[in-house]
Amino acid sequence: MLGLVIVSHSEKVAQGIKDIAEQMNNGMVRIIEAGGADEGRIGTNPLKIQAAIEAAYDQGPVLIFADLGSAIMNAELAIDLVDDQIKKQITIVNAPLVEGVIAAVIQATITDDVEDIIQTAIASKDLNKI
């Protein structure tokens, strides 16, 4: 099963994106959120991200989506902390957070080609909204 980790500076944002994405998830993606710093403050926490990666990992690829710069830095740190076996399965996806997660989850209902899922998530930045 594909793992997906949502990293945001806000706990609410990460949880809410998971809520939206789960509506479109047909059970093919294990979505785990890692939002907020310690005690719900705005920020990110590499240990929370590490735990989320480990929870999302199911012998297959794990995609990480994050909001701002320091969330990426903490995601990279979290990746350094996990087992090598998991580590080599992880990709941080360079996509907008909400749009990328939703696109990835929808695409995962269509294909199990991870590269395709990643590219679809990245391409979500160019989806016209209006």
Partner: protein, 214 residues
């Protein structure tokens, strides 16, 4: 000279205690700097991180320096929340490694600790000098220390040179546009402001300096 100049655990514990105290004292100053060109949480972030360190320090000081620094770094990682978390977390975690599980290090080893820590910050943040980050204080500081050691300068003097370079590096951030971190988005609006991380880096190095024996 450098082999006989030793720094023991009491020194490091004192440095950390002082650091926790001064972070509290300088919290609003650091937060003020971050309000100008960031999200105004740098002082608060560090305060929360170092409170966690303080709370556990009496327990952790039973450990050797490698483990002690690792625990400090992990606490900062987990608590700080902002960019300073992974950066200073990495700094402290990596600083412990050259201590090789001992309780006392000589000056060479201490310099290696700082080198390992500062390189870890660079590795983690991918910043180089001139990008208006803490690296603008830390990298020149490390270079000045290395040079002073090559020149055979006495330890505390070498550290004074290091600190002077860090502070010069901090001031050098004022006219810069940021290329990393949140301030990156501000373009020219960041000009005229000290980078908060370069200021906190000076504070950290100053505590190491201040507590060194003559």
């Amino acid at each position: 000279m450098y082999e006989s100049y030793v720094l023991d655990k009491a020194y490091f514990v004192k440095v950390i205690e002082d650091l926790a105290a001064i972070v509290e004292e300088q919290r609003d100053y650091l937060t003020g700097l971050d309000s100008a060109i960031g999200d105004g949480d740098h002082g608060l972030n560090l305060s929360i991180g170092f409170r966690e360190v303080s709370k556990n320090l009496s327990e952790w000081q039973k450990e050797n320096l490698t483990i002690l620094f690792k625990k400090i770094g992990m606490a900062l990682l987990g608590k700080v929340g902002g960019s300073a978390g992974p950066l200073y977390g990495s700094l402290f975690m990596k600083m412990g490694e050259p201590a090789g599980g001992k309780d006392v290090v000589d000056f060479n080893e201490f310099c290696n600790m700082l080198k390992a820590g500062i390189e870890a910050v660079e590795m983690r943040g991918k910043a180089v000098v001139g990008e208006k980050t803490m690296v603008d204080a830390l990298r020149p500081a490390l270079d000045a220390l290395t040079k002073a050691v090559e020149d055979g300068v006495a330890p505390k003097i070498a550290f004074e040179k290091m600190l002077d370079s860090a502070k010069a590096g901090r001031e050098s951030t004022i006219p810069l546009i940021a290329k990393k971190g949140r301030a990156m988005r501000l373009g020219e609006r960041a000009i005229g402001h000290v980078d908060p991380g370069s200021a906190s880096s000076c504070i950290i190095l100053e505590m190491f300096y201040k507590n060194m024996p003559q």
